[in-house]
Symmetry: C2
Subunit: 239 residues, 2 copies
């Protein structure tokens, strides 16, 4: 199984880093091929813009999806995006490892999604959710939160995990692209968890990622080149 871990934390001594390392090592030891996109370590730029492209479809007005579709047709994505898209295309299982900041993924990871899962690569008209490009593959959120379990849930102060807190990243992000979701793994109250608790979290995470990687995938369900299904110029000008 090909696994891509997208890891977003600035500190190599963080618990997020330990989680990333444990997942990578366990999967590698089990015989899977693992690639880690270390967004901070690689200095990934999360800001969408003309620097995403080596080409220009419209030099007057910058319309993001127009430029994305143009680059997808002509193979003219900037090297950092092309590299990440190749990693995504190769991955049967995608794992996002991050701390919950301001109730969501860190900006560096949000921008990774915006730039990499572009129109023409990650989705296109009519290719979303049940018809998504990455159908047949799996994705899993693995995160830390400063909040305790009591803060999450229907009616709790942070809200229900699946339908509220992670709705954006899981449903409007990963499921939008067609991925089948693994249940999220959450290390709650990470700052107030002692060494034994952290060791238990890491052991549990290891079992979770090994189980996820053992499930079948079927790449034939997905769409390798979504733009082939969309007539040239069919995308809309959104200004």
């Amino acid at each position: 199984m090909n696994v891509l871990i997208v890891y977003a934390h600035p500190e190599p001594a963080s618990f997020n880093a330990a989680m990333c390392t444990r997942a990578r090592d366990a999967l590698t030891h089990a015989g899977h091929k693992v690639v880690v996109s270390d967004l901070y370590g690689e200095g990934f730029n999360p800001v969408a813009g003309r620097h995403d492209f080596l080409s220009v479809a419209d030099g007057q007005v910058f319309h993001y999806q127009t430029e994305q579709a143009h680059a997808a047709r002509h193979g003219t994505y900037a090297p950092d995006i092309a590299r990440e898209q190749a990693r995504v295309a190769d991955a049967d299982l995608l794992i996002l490892q991050f701390p919950l900041w301001w109730g969501g993924v860190p900006a560096i990871l949000k921008g990774w999604g915006e730039r990499v899962f572009s129109y023409g690569f990650g989705y296109a008209d009519g290719l979303r959710f049940q018809t998504g490009v990455f159908r047949g593959r799996r994705a899993m959120v693995s995160m830390t939160s400063g909040g305790t379990t009591a803060r999450f849930g229907e009616g709790a102060v942070y809200g229900e995990l699946k339908r509220q807190v992670l709705w954006q990243i899981q449903h409007l992000g990963l499921e939008y692209m067609g991925y089948e979701l693994e249940p999220p793994f959450v290390a709650y109250a990470a700052p107030r968890t002692d060494d034994a608790g952290r060791a238990a979290y890491l052991d549990e995470l290891e079992q979770r990622v090994l189980a996820a990687a053992a499930k079948p995938v079927d790449r034939s369900l997905g769409i390798a080149k979504p733009l082939d299904l969309v007539p040239d110029g069919a995308w809309k000008q959104q200004r």
Copy 2:
């Protein structure tokens, strides 16, 4: 009324830009003081890191909240954050203007929130939601979406606006800081809306921001210096 519009779109000819301009002009004409944080125009860096600070609390391990608290105590935020925090501190009404990307705010705006609403400025232990730092002030989301109204709602493909799509930015972001929310303004199906429809959106937005700015605010409810209430060193090491 002091109004801060945080605007996040890369294209000055976009409909988002037109919305920002209309809100700014209408509020200014009505006698309010309006400041626009043009995140793309000002080249705002959304990536949290050591560059956020002129000071170092711990040179070995980078723990974000520790460094934020240290900078808040010593007035050592980097100039871009200090500038944005001064704008936020001055604003009675905060308006976020953005396109919905990947189901959420663009990364450049997500990172603005993470870096500017820092521990010690935007919140602290025990100062959240009903005890939030910005209680008595108002905030409003104004956004475009490629989706039609039919895609939003309970059971619809994108989900319910308040409790799902905008849960992260509105509840876990703005309400977390204590802001009272105005209902969000959404320009649905923006790419497929003709000139008359867009003009109607702009007129409606004008009425909405003028009405929001006419409501009373009470800064005395908020906490000017949240760290004064927290003993020095009380923040937790989260690694």
